[in-house]
Symmetry: C2
């Protein structure tokens, strides 16, 4: 089987490729070629060197999608995106990558299928950003998408295209609405959501972290390991069970910042929790006030998608997967 991962140098992409390196048939069978593309050179684990074809491409350039589809991959995992803050700051770039790039990819598959029958599995990374406040306490699967960012708009439009192209038999699409992935590995970043991970990741390595919001702030989380699981399950599941509503809100944990900190204290002790400095930031408080707090995610659970059930697990996964089991840096 031929696999194409777009956005393979990103956080989720790298985690997914590392998982394939450990479990080579996780995507449903032996992989013949694994095309890994991104605007940055995607890292290739040694054990995948024989099958991996890394490439640096810009999906937002005309003609690129056709090149990616030319060898007719059986499975396409589309993770490439301009993230929320940047898509808001740069209108043209966000629409070019997140909307046009995605549409060109979808249309390249259609064009390929007009030459000779072709219907690959297409797994697309969407986001909770397709929703916009005000929300009910827990958001049901049939709640409407009224995004309050251009990024969320671009993801919601991509979802609609995914469902229509699937209905038309152009590809076999599954849209994965990711919770906020926590603990995001790497350095603290400037994203407004960064603190949800920073306040755990930094103390677990003996570093201070800043908490800009109140402990009562509630949000929806899943681990990077769960994120990888969402994409492998979507790649291999029986899609005939989904029906025409192809975009699925993924399961996760609804937790407050206070609950995050309590879990940190249980897993890593009060010294770790003491490294969190409270510095209120009204801008971040304002942004976060518009975010979803909880989802039913009933359909995804029924279709076999799973995530953590308590926050301590999210912390333990980070310690196992990123810190070689050792707390404290």
């Amino acid at each position: 089987m031929k696999v194409l991962i777009i956005g393979a140098a990103g956080m989720v992409g790298r985690k997914l490729v590392e998982r394939i390196a450990v479990e080579p048939e996780i995507l449903g069978g032996p992989i013949e070629t694994l095309s890994l593309v991104d605007v940055f050179e995607p890292p290739v684990p040694t054990s995948l060197a024989a099958i991996a074809k890394p490439g640096t491409v810009d999906l937002a350039k005309p003609g690129v999608a056709e090149q990616l589809i030319a060898d007719r991959p059986d499975l396409i995992i589309h993770l490439a995106a301009i993230v929320s803050g940047q898509a808001e700051a740069d209108f043209d770039l966000g629409y070019a990558v997140n909307l046009d790039g995605t549409r060109w990819l979808f249309d390249a598959i259609r064009t390929e299928g007009l030459k000779e029958p072709y219907c690959p599995r297409m797994v697309f990374a969407s986001s909770i950003a397709v929703f916009g406040a005000p929300f009910p306490e827990s958001i049901p699967d049939d709640f409407f998408t009224t995004p309050l960012t251009s990024y969320g708009t671009q993801k919601a439009i991509s979802e609609l295209l995914l469902a229509d192209y699937t209905r038309r038999g152009i590809f076999d699409g599954v849209g994965i609405r990711l919770p906020t992935i926590c603990i995001r590995p790497g350095k603290p970043n400037a994203a407004a959501s960064g603190f949800f991970s920073n306040i755990l990741r930094e103390p677990l390595s003996g570093q201070e972290a800043v908490l800009p919001v109140d402990e009562s702030v509630r949000h929806w989380f899943a681990s990077p390991r769960s994120a990888v699981g969402f994409f492998t399950h979507a790649s291999t599941m029986d899609t005939s069970l989904i029906g025409p509503r192809r975009n699925l809100m993924m399961p996760g944990i609804s937790a407050t910042v206070g609950e995050e900190i309590a879990a940190l204290e249980r897993v890593a002790g009060p010294k770790a929790a003491a490294l969190i400095k409270r510095e209120a930031d009204p801008t971040i408080q304002g942004i976060v006030a518009g975010w979803a707090r909880c989802f039913d995610a009933t359909r995804a659970r029924e279709l076999g998608f799973t995530a953590e059930t308590e926050f301590d697990e999210i912390i333990r996964i980070h310690i196992e997967d990123e810190l070689d089991g050792k707390i404290g840096g």
Copy 2:
């Protein structure tokens, strides 16, 4: 004030222009120029000859939107569309007109605004086709859009763009989700929804009509007069009351085919109703089974949009507006 109506040769466009001819300030003030464009030459009522600028243009051609926006209209009413059946039969044409045409129009306004501040009112004709079965008995305003046609997909995408461009201050948008307009004037057409109007319009003119579905079929209706009212209200209302959720399901009447026929009999007598011939059509029955039956339309009603409250009114409006008050042809 400068007004631009795109799709002005269509059914709703012509009705709207006729209304402006009778009530020249219905769009909120005296009109300086009334640009009426369509792929077909839009008819111009004599009383509007001095201000009307009719034009034949194809919105799906690059550069056309910029030309339409060049004189910076204050109000744009965008009615142009490839309708459902044709957008389903011709993938490229549907996406070119209903998605690209709309996006080019929106982007032309953005480009114009980058030169010099500009934020016109933009009223867009959407459709109940943004929804896809299965539905609750009455669809609430926060129900999700999972269209089952490419036309519905294109309308749902346009709605998302409308909300995002409005949020960004590019224009001041209102999306009008039209019920099925009944009684549609003119000749019987091939649309799957045609019979809802045919079984009333034809008997009211002494002609036979075919009913292809069961009398228990329920659907959501408003008159052409109400449709015009939706667009004039959206053109003049205080949009600060809407908030960021700019796409509104319009009020209407939920009625069964049996209730339509009973109303016809009450208004025009049993002879008219006897002109309806029952010829079951399984294809049309199948299509119609997936259509919405009833909406709450709470937000639109609260924002001052109004429609008929009983089906007899819908029939009387047709007799007044299309038959000069005379039944029987």
